[in-house]
């Protein structure tokens, strides 16, 4: 076995991907590399928050009220404990609350986009493939919804859903209601793009061939057309993620989102705003900066992706 193999193995998927035009373009763009690293770092620290965070901010036993209002990097006057980013009024470590808050922000953002994506793709495929009345109804609803800013639609859905859930479940359900509200406010973009692409694809020969061999409309839509309309969907999904994160933060900031028992970055900023006038700037500043870094880097990544996947700009 010391001889070199005569036939070279086909390169692995990873190797092929690392060799692709797409990855080459990625390596050559500093903006893409930096923003992707920031996004990756933030996602990883959110996922591993329980391991990284020095304290568990939601465990009342670990909190010491004496630690309240510690400034960043300065030992507390009473206990002598030092906190990297300071503590809030109840002695919760700001760094830990940010890590856990980012978890909720990202979870809501990603779930909402996935929900919007699945809904939008399905309705877009059906509208484009079926045509006729089905198409008219779906696209009219989309048009009407597009007349209103999505944050307003999300607020309304949140309010209605909150009204439907019984009072004692409201706090527990708030996260799911938030996902539903943001997701439902954002499906239109996906549906429009997928419908447009489906209209083009369904006239192509391979779709006719699939129909000839007797595949049903469901199989044609999902197995044949869907894979060919996915690349614009990817771009919209990334940009939607940035918008969803901001939408979640805005709703939570306004007090119609994540409850104080499960604070997201927006809730933390809402809490921090209360201490703006008393000089404890760090309770507000660090969550705000984290939100900004997250939204900005996802946004920049989306912009880059749009250009990279656009064949006209190659």
């Amino acid at each position: 076995m010391s001889d070199a193999p005569l036939t070279s193995k086909p390169p692995s998927r990873l190797a092929r991907w690392l060799d692709s035009d797409f990855f080459y373009a990625f390596k050559r763009s500093p903006v893409a590399v930096v923003s992707a690293s920031v996004v990756l770092l933030l996602i990883l620290s959110a996922v591993f928050a329980p391991l990284i965070a020095p304290t568990n901010p939601f465990d009342p036993a670990s909190l010491n009220l004496m630690n309240g209002f510690s400034a960043p990097m300065k030992p507390n006057a009473f206990t002598g404990d030092t906190f990297l980013l300071g503590t809030d009024d109840q002695g919760r470590d700001v760094f830990s609350t940010i890590l856990f808050g980012m978890r909720i922000s990202l979870f809501v953002g990603v779930s909402a986009v996935l929900f919007a994506m699945v809904l939008g793709i399905l309705l877009g495929l059906i509208a484009g493939y079926a045509g006729g009345w089905t198409e008219t109804i779906i696209m009219r609803v989309a048009d009407i919804q597009l007349t209103f800013p999505s944050i307003l639609v999300a607020m309304l859905i949140f309010g209605v859903a909150k009204g439907v859930t019984p009072v004692e479940y409201r706090d527990q359900m708030a996260i799911w209601v938030l996902i539903l509200a943001i997701g439902l406010s954002d499906w239109v973009q996906f549906a429009r793009v997928v419908r447009g692409a489906t209209l083009v694809e369904k006239r192509k020969d391979y779709v006719q061939a699939a129909r000839l061999i007797g595949r049903g409309p469901g199989a044609i839509m999902l197995r044949h057309i869907l894979p060919n309309v996915l690349s614009p969907v990817l771009v919209i999904a990334t940009i939607s993620l940035a918008l969803a994160i901001i939408a979640e933060a805005t709703l939570s900031f306004l007090g119609v989102g994540a409850p104080p028992t499960q604070p997201s970055l927006g809730t933390l900023i809402r809490i921090g705003q209360g201490f703006l006038f008393s000089g404890e700037w760090w309770i507000l500043f660090f969550p705000a900066m984290t939100l900004l870094a997250l939204a900005l880097s996802v946004n920049l990544l989306g912009d880059w992706l749009r250009d990279a996947l656009n064949p006209k700009l190659r």
């Binding site: 209103f148 607020m155 209605v160 909150k162 439907v164 805005t250 900031f253 306004l254 007090g255 119609v256």
Partner: protein, 327 residues
Amino acid sequence: MLSFVVKRVAQSVLVLLIVGLVAFSMFRFVGDPVDNMLGQERTIEDVERLRTQLGLDQPFPVQYYKFLEGAVQGNFGVSYRQGRPVAEIILERAPATLELAAVSGIFAILLGIALGVFTAIRRNGVTANLIMSISLIGVSLPTFLIGILLIYLFSVELGWLPSFGRGEVVKIGGWSTGLLTETGLKALVLPSITLGLYQMTLIMRLVRSEMLEVLRQDYIRFARARGLRDRTVHFRHALKNTMVPVITVIGLQLGSIIAFAIITETVFQWPGVGLLFINAIQFVDIPVMAAYLMLISVMFVGINLIVDLLYFAIDPRLRGGGQEATG
């Protein structure tokens, strides 16, 4: 021409009817308003009395008809939370929101167009590039963070401007205005900037790209060749021809200003309709939510309609039927 107008108006009415149905369904099916209003301690008689008082004991079609009849007359029932007619509460708070929206709209339009023209003319200048970079950051910042940032800078650190409320207001008839007192005007500054900043950058970027497009065209070169002054060329010839898309965007953004006023009003505790709406959501005050939804739909649909018709009036190519337009 006439068929276009009729079609657009019919479309708008249809949209409003659908929104009305949504608003009514909210009324009818969301939660139990009696539950929301009475709280824990109550008797069965209390519940029954309130049910009759709110008309919740009547059959569905009757309630629906009553709702439509009321909505057309501007009667949206009684707020579950405040126990007062919704229309009265909204009318009382409308001046605050409208003044805020108007001031920030004017700010956005004037500064947006001015900066747009400036950055287009001095395309490679240092100041113009700086403005463009700052605007990019401005677009990515969520509105509420901009508001907090401004409060921190101008209220907490510098202490120049108030951070919440409307200041002193003067009553003129049924309209309360903050435009006539010093504290009222001061209180308007930060919220208007917060609310108008996004629209301002949007208008600026649009004017800039349109201007760059127009400045390349032959008639601008001819105008220069005729020896016209720069100012005449830029404003009389170039800017005028960028106005069609700019007016569309301004029109469509007017609606957004009213909608985003919700966020600004919450940050600055501005006693307007947006803050009312947010509080209504927090307390599931359905009549207020439904009324706000109807009100804002009428506004959005109306603005869309006007913009479409204005488009028609401004752009001569769209007038006189489709055949000429393609020629």
